[in-house]
Every structure is written in structure tokens, then in C-alpha cells.
Amino acid sequence: MIETYSSITPLIAVLLPVAAALLVLLTGERFRNVRDSWSTIAALVMVAVVASMLPDVLDGRVPQTTIIEISPGIDIMLRADSAGMIFALLASSLWVLASVYAVGYMRAEHEHKQTRFFVAYALSLGAAAGVAFSANLLTFVLFYELLTLVTFPLVTHRETEAAIVAGRKYLTYTLSGGLMLIGGTAWVHMLGIDGTFVAGGLMADENISKATAWGLLMLLMVGVGVKSAVMPLHGWLPSAMVAPTPVSALLHAVAVVKAGVFGVVRMIVFVFGAELLREMDAWQVIAVLAAATLLIGSMLALRHDNLKRRLAYSTISHLSYIVLGVALLGPIALTGALLHIVGHGVTKITLFFVAGTINAHTHKENVSQLDGIGRQMPITMGAFTLAALSMAGVPPFVLFTSKFYLGWGAAEVDQQIFMVVYLVSGVLAAGYLFPVVYRAFWKRSPDHVAYGEADMRMVVPLAITGVLALFLGIAPNLPFSFFELATNVATAAFGPVEALAGGAR
């Protein structure tokens, strides 16, 4: 059904950030204006490159690059299929904004070693694009591990004791996850199964015993579960918030954690497939874990006064929205899950941008300090309000659309209980975000300093993402046909997405 053709474009998309990293490194601190423009330029080019593949992908013609045979019979292969395109488009377009924001933030904070920072920042985008376009298990493992590696200097960037401890924790979690993946991948190959991803599951037609399937599921799902922070594998994420905010924004709302949930999509949809998971009764286990994470994450978010930590737990909760949506194994739920990857990326990056802007501009980091800040920084807090509305799932924001599909998907497979979970968590999201808005606009500021808006390099990106959170809800197919890509994946995996009401289109 899907035809592939050989093309070097996916490889270019992966290598562009690497080229940017090299330019950044060679330019160095002395010409920092030149240096800092490289990332933005590379990001813009990358969006163009990735988007240039879109028409073909929508036509069902998938560009593919085979790089080298890395182990007998296994190639390193990139393939820009619909699922990969969703992640790559999201990551690359948010990188444009994030790189502008990062420049503003890093300068405002007088951060040290900015060259190293921007090099690692660009490289992690390359690794994320690699994860997105991986065509088989081994390639996926390779980029997944590289992503761990290049984000390590970002997590530890501040070089404080806390940062180093967080870095160690991060490495321990993610490297262990990576090892599970390696073990699982080796096992798949030893069973004589080709590791190339197939919509509907590469193991679907293989005759493997239940015990083997469970063993593989454990290894592979724990492997990707670490980065998608499904409880009890989430411990690294809140600690990693010691990183500078652009890192939290791009990596812990977009690149790293989304690589994790994207991995979940790959494993469930492209490796195991619906039939096998139903036969094994495994999907219930994943779904229950995800549902628990979803609720507990939201509740923990309520408890934290530190804004970034609150957002971190909110991230944990929302990642499990996606995991649960995938685990339901229905086409509508999967459409919702993929849209949620996009919607949550846009929304959460806005919230992190705002948190970082406030912190860099006023050195406030706790929710309880934010009284009246909305009057001083109206654009910033306005964007925050848009994002908060989206997080709570208020129509017509983007996360309403995705949650609508997720809930509908739960009903479709007769699991109304999970629909209730989604709804409750939506209320909780309102519970932990609306008080911030309330304090910001309706309470009076206790201090006498008039702050005003921060550096435009921070304010403009966050305003754009805030508006995008609304815009993508109204028109999810613009500009990058996210909706169509998502339904394509869902159709290929679990059968046609039925009765799509015209409204969302």
C-alpha cells in the first residue's frame, strides 16, 4: 500500500542540525551574534526540508535513505513515513521558535559556556529527527541512545551540584532504558524477524510464543517507557528541571519525552500490532499504568508551588494521555494520541517559555510569587492563559481536539472508564493552571517594581506558540496536515477512522 522510494532528503533533515552544531562550534563565543543565528537559519532550512517531503508522504509515497549495513543483514535506514513526519515537523518547527527564545534567555541569564549549549541543543534536534525517521529497530536504538548522550550536557549545563546529580539520575534512567531496548532488539533479530517497522506490527504474522512476546514487550516497552516517563519510570524528569528553561521547554516538552512516546507508538503500532497485544492481554496492563500515571501526575502537579515542577508533573500526566491513547488500540484513539503529541508539544512549550521568561526577567519561580504579574507582562501571561485553556481542554483549543478524539476512541473500544479518566484529568489540569492565571491577572502585585515585558526574543516566540495552540485547534490540518498524517497512521495501523465529523477538519 505504501510505496517507498530512495531519497536522500530524510538524511539531510537529520544532518542539518549536525551541520549547525559544527558551525556554532567553529564560530565560538567571540562572534556570538553570528553563532546564534546559525541555529535559527538551520532550523528554518530544516523545516523547509522536512516539509518538502510532505506532499509525497500524503500521496503515500515515502522517501527512504539506506545509509550503511551496520550488522549483517541489518541496515541503518531512514524513512519519512506519516508517523515520523508528525514528530519531525513538530520538532523542527518548534526548534525555530525555541532557538530564538534560547538566545534571548541565555543572554538574559548570562549563562556560561553558551557555545557548548547551542552545540548540544542543535545535536539533540538531529538525534530527535533521527528517532522520527528511523525505519527499523536498530536505527531507532542508535538515535535513541545518541539523544540521551547529547542531552546530557544540557541537563547538567549549570554545573551545580544539583545539576550534576540530576544528570546522573537522567543518565542512569535513560541508559538503563536504552539497554533494555538493545536487549529487546537483539532478541527480535535472533528470532529471525526483520526489524523494519510495519504499520500493524512487524511481529503480526510471526509465530512467537506468548512467553517470548511478554519478554520482548517488557524489554521494549520499558526501554521507551523511561523517556516517556510512565510511572514508575518517571523519576528523572522532575529532577531534570534544573536545566535552563529552553532545555526544559524544547527537550522535556518536545524532543526527549516526545521521542519516548513516539517510541511507544513505534513499539505498539509498528512492532507488536493490535492483534498480538489483544491476544496477550497486554494492552490492559499498559493502559492501566498509563491511566494511573495520568491521574497521579495531575494530582502531584497540584501540590507543587514551583512553576517548572508543576509543569514537569503536568508533562508526565500528559505523556500518559498519549500512551493510553495508543494502548487502546483503536484508530480514533490513535488519531487522538498523535494529535496530542502535536498539541501538547505546542501548548507545553508555551507554558515553559512563559515560566522561563518570568524567571529570567523577574527571578520569580514559584506560583505564589506571581500575583499581579499579568498586568506587568500582559503578552507573556496572555500566552500562558491561552496555553492553560488548551491544557484544560477547552474548545476550540488544540488539546480539546485531541482529547475529544482520545475520549471518543475510548468509547469506540468500549472502555468508557478511560474516557472518565481523561475527563477527570482535564479538570485537574484546570485546577493546577487556572490559579496561576487568576493570581496573575486578578491579584495585586505585592512589590513596587514595574517589570514590563521581557526581551522580545523571548516574548515573540511564546506569543506565537500560544496563538498556535488556539489555531491548531481550529485548523489542525494547517499548515502541515497534522490531522491527515495522524489519520493516515491510524488507518494503516488499526483500520479506517470512521465517521470523522467535518467539524475538526
Binding site: 556570538r32 549495513e69 551496520i70 538493545i182
Partner: protein, 493 residues
């Protein structure tokens, strides 16, 4: 033709131009090895009868894919290391430079000889040549190295004697020393007790040479106290050749399956290997001296080779042979970097590596590559030997192997990231003030820039070999399938 491998030898003793001649010798040897590898790839196994005597009587040299492969590794790594440690040799050997390079040449001759020989007794001769040269080189360190070297000498000689005893037993019951003929005879009839005893002795001897736990006691001190020019050379290649000899026993001396079914040497290797992997890594974590840490790390990595051999399946042997190459390159990188650091700053303690990432960007960059390869981050080399080892473990349903190999990766990360952390994440002394007192937006503080100006990279002739070794961990990793498909798999079959 094989003479080319052995000639650049003893004649080179006692020359003022030691370095040049040594380099020429080992370079020539490397070229010859590469040439033989190419030749074997095209034309199949090479045989050469020393002195023109036909095999059962005379000594035969055999270069097949595997031995050519190992010879290439040994000689090319040695070439890079000799270039890179020239300054150390000048400093450490002083007026004995001539004999130093003579010994180095003897060492390499011994190792290459062990690799290409097709005769069990001749292997012993070369084993002793290389070992004697190694003892003498360790002694050059003086002081505590004397003690370490003495211990090495005693244990090494015990190992050699065990091997010799084993060969004696085999000769006793088969009447031949030629490997090929030995295998033919043993395939017909290997029931004799003396053959079993011989096999056991041989493995005890070689196990000691490859520092298999619990026969590793000589290694940490020898690596720590030996002169930097020496440990950088012997650490990557010496134990590897012991491991190679072990593999050779499996492939060309004893009948297929004999060492698994009749004498449980495969299982012994497996068990000792698994213990060694964990023991070596855990011991490495607590070391304060980087050389000692790398020494324990070697024990752990060699144990991985033993596990591959112990599994005995083709995939296991591929993993073992690939790891011989990988570990040689990775360890050479790490030891070269450690030697360069010690050369420019005198630092040997892990705790003192603070801020070195900035002062020696190239050396520490290479160290980082080597370290990541050791941890097994793809696509660097270390990943792939582990990958094949894991596959081999799954194939023979040895789940414990799978678990240990994977966990060892994490343990390796623990001890190597300690160094990376202090090199990159801990500030230079004195501690730079953080940010806010500097005019708008200057990321680097004045102090940091000033310290950077004093940065000292190692001299070019040390840094370049280090970087070449570091980069080759990645290049060899990417190209590993080429090696496995063309050299290792046909070589084992």
C-alpha cells in the same frame, strides 16, 4: 613473505636512532600485516615453512583471516602508540633508549609471532619472548614498578609453565606439535586422559596471560606502575594476544565441541568471564588512579572476550574477535589520553581531572569518544561487540549472559562518566564566578577566558595519534559489518 612480519627485530637493538628504527620496524610490520590480510582475503590461507622443513617436522606459520586480522590490529595500534609515546619514552628511558626500543621490538615480534604461528611449541617461544620483553619494560619504571614487575614475572612464568606443561601432555599423546595435525589426530581419538589434562593446563596458562579472574592479580599493579610509554603499549595489545591464543585453541587445535562437551573449558570461561565482567567494573569504580581504573576496566573487558569464546557459538566468537579489535582501539585511546594528560600536567588521579575538557580539548575529546565506545553507545565500536555478545547469549538461551553484558554497560558508564563529569562539568581552578557581575550578556567570565588562554594541549605528536585512535572507534563501529561479514564470519567457518 611472512619473514616480513618477523624480521624488523633483534637487529635493531642498541641504536641511537631507536625511535626511527622502531617506528620503521613496526610500520613495516603493520604494512606487511595489512598486505597479508589482503592476500588472504584474495587467495585463502597462507602457509610458510620455516627453514623449508615440511610441517610435521619443521615449524609452520599459518596466516588465515583471523590471524591476519589480529596481526593488523596489533601492529597498527602499536604503530600509533609508539608515535604517541615517543616523548614519554625519551623522558622515561633516558640513556637506555636504545634498549628500550629493542625491547619494544622484541615484544611486538613476540606478539605477532604468537599470532601467525601454526605450532604449539613455537607459540610458547613467542609467548615467552613477548613476556620477557614486557617484564623488562615494566622494570624500567623503577621504584614500585620493580615490585609490580616482579610479581608479573612470577605469575607470568607460572602461566607460561602451565601452558608448556599442557603442550607437553598433548605432545605425549599425539606426537605432534603442529596445530593442524594435532586437530586431525585429536579428531580421530581424543579420549586419552593426558589430552584432557593438557587442555586444562593450556587454559590455565593462557587464562593467566589474559588476566581472567581470579588469575588477574598481576595486571593492576603492572599497568599502574609501569612507565607511561609501556603501559600504553602493553595494555591494548598484550592481553589481547593471550585471548587470541585461546580462540586459536578452540578453532584449530582441539576438535569442534571437544572443549565444551568433553572438558568443560567453555563453561569455565563463561563463568569466570561473567564474574570477571562484574568484578572488573565494580573494582574500577572505586579506583582513584586513572591507570588503575583502566586496568580493572581491562579485566572486565577481557572477561567479555572470554564470555564470547566460552559461548563457543559462531556469533560468540564473532563477538570475542570483534571485541579484541574494539578493546585494543578503545583502550589504546584511553591510555594514550591518560598518558598525554600526565605528560602535560602530571595528573594521574581521577579527582584532578577537573576542567581538563577545556584545557586539552582534543585529548579529552578523544578520551570521550573512547569512553563512550566502552560504554557502548552506538555507533561507536564497543556497542557492536556487545550487540553480538547479547545476540549470542540469546541464541544459546544463556539469559544470564545477556543480563550481565547489558548491566556491564551501565557499570562502565558509572566509572567512565566520573572522569567525563570532572573533566567537563567541574570548573577550572580557581572557581569562576557565575555570571551576574559581567556586563550584559557576556557568557564567559573574564576569569574563564584568562584561564582558557593558558590552556595547554598535549604536543601535536601525542595529540594526533590519540585523536586518530579516538576517531577510529567510531569509524570501525560504523564499518563493523564489513569486517564481520568479510573477515570474521568466513574466518570462523
Amino acid at each position: 613473505m611472512l619473514a616480513a612480519l618477523i624480521v624488523p627485530v633483534v637487529a635493531r637493538l642498541r641504536y641511537e636512532l631507536g625511535f626511527i628504527l622502531a617506528l620503521a620496524g613496526v610500520g613495516l610490520s603493520a604494512a606487511a600485516s595489512i598486505w597479508s590480510l589482503v592476500y588472504v582475503l584474495d587467495n585463502g590461507t597462507m602457509h610458510y615453512n620455516l627453514g623449508g622443513w615440511a610441517p610435521p617436522v619443521g615449524i609452520e606459520y599459518v596466516v588465515d583471516l583471523i590471524s591476519a586480522f589480529v596481526a593488523v590490529i596489533v601492529t597498527s595500534v602499536a604503530t600509533l602508540v609508539i608515535i604517541g609515546t615517543r616523548r614519554w619514552a625519551d623522558r622515561e628511558a633516558g640513556d637506555r633508549l636504545g634498549s628500550f626500543y629493542g625491547l619494544v621490538m622484541l615484544l611486538i615480534t613476540g606478539l605477532v609471532g604468537m599470532v601467525v604461528t601454526g605450532d604449539l611449541f613455537n607459540l610458547f617461544v613467542f609467548l615467552e619472548i613477548s613476556s620477557l620483553a614486557a617484564y623488562a619494560l615494566v622494570f624500567l619504571g623503577g621504584g614500585r614498578a620493580m615490585l609490580a614487575g616482579f610479581r608479573y614475572l612470577i605469575l607470568g612464568s607460572v602461566g607460561g609453565s602451565f601452558y608448556m606443561l599442557g603442550v607437553g601432555f598433548l605432545y605425549f599423546s599425539t606426537g605432534t606439535l603442529n596445530m593442524g595435525e594435532m586437530k586431525d589426530i585429536l579428531t580421530d581419538d581424543a579420549t586419552a586422559r593426558s589430552v584432557q589434562a593438557g587442555a586444562a593446563f593450556i587454559f590455565a596458562g593462557l587464562g593467566l596471560k589474559m588476566a581472567l579472574v581470579p588469575m588477574h592479580l598481576w595486571l593492576p599493579d603492572a599497568y599502574t606502575f609501569a612507565p607511561s610509554s609501556v603501559n600504553t603499549l602493553i595494555a591494548p595489545i598484550m592481553t589481547k594476544v593471550g585471548a587470541y591464543a585461546m580462540i586459536r585453541m578452540f578453532l584449530s587445535v582441539f576438535p569442534d565441541g571437544y572443549l565444551k562437551d568433553v572438558v568443560p573449558i567453555g563453561d569455565a570461561l563463561l563463568v569466570l568471564g561473567l564474574i570477571g565482567i562484574i568484578f572488573g567494573s565494580v573494582a574500577a569504580m572505586s579506583q582513584k588512579d586513572i591507570r588503575r581504573m583502566l586496568a580493572y576496566s581491562s579485566i572486565s573487558q577481557l572477561a567479555l572476550i572470554a564470555v564470547g569464546v566460552g559461548l563457543g557459538t559462531p556469533l560468540g566468537l564473532v563477538a570475542a574477535l570483534l571485541h579484541i579489535m574494539n578493546h585494543a582501539v578503545m583502550k589504546a585511546t584511553l591510555f594514550m589520553a591518560a598518558a598525554s594528560v600526565r605528560f602535560t600536567s602530571g595528573i594521574t588521579q581521577v579527582a584532578d581531572f577537573t576542567g581538563l575538557g577545556r584545557r586539552m580539548p582534543f585529548t579529552m575529546g578523544a578520551f570521550t569518544l573512547g569512553a563512550l565506545a566502552m560504554v557502548g553507545i552506538p555507533p561507536a565500536t564497543g556497542f557492536f561487540s556487545k550487540w553480538y555478545a547479547v545476540q549470542a547469549g540469546i541464541e544459546s538461551s544463556q539469559w544470564i549472559v545477556v543480563a550481565v553484558v547489558l548491566v556491564s554497560s551501565l557499570l562502565t558508564a558509572v566509572y567512565l562518566f566520573r572522569i567525563l563529569e570532572s573533566a567537563y562539568l567541574h570548573p577550572l581552578q580557581p572557581e569562576p564566578s557565575h555570571g551576574h557581575d559581567v556586563p550584559d550578556g557576556f557568557g564567559e567570565t573574564e576569569q574563564e577566558l584568562a584561564l582558557e588562554a593558558q590552556a595547554r594541549e598535549a604536543p601535536l605528536d601525542m595529540a594526533i595519534p590519540t585523536v586518530v585512535l579516538g576517531l577510529s572507534t567510531v569509524v570501525l563501529g560504523v564499518l563493523n559489518a564489513v569486517i564481520v561479514i568479510n573477515i570474521l564470519e568466513p574466518g570462523i567457518a
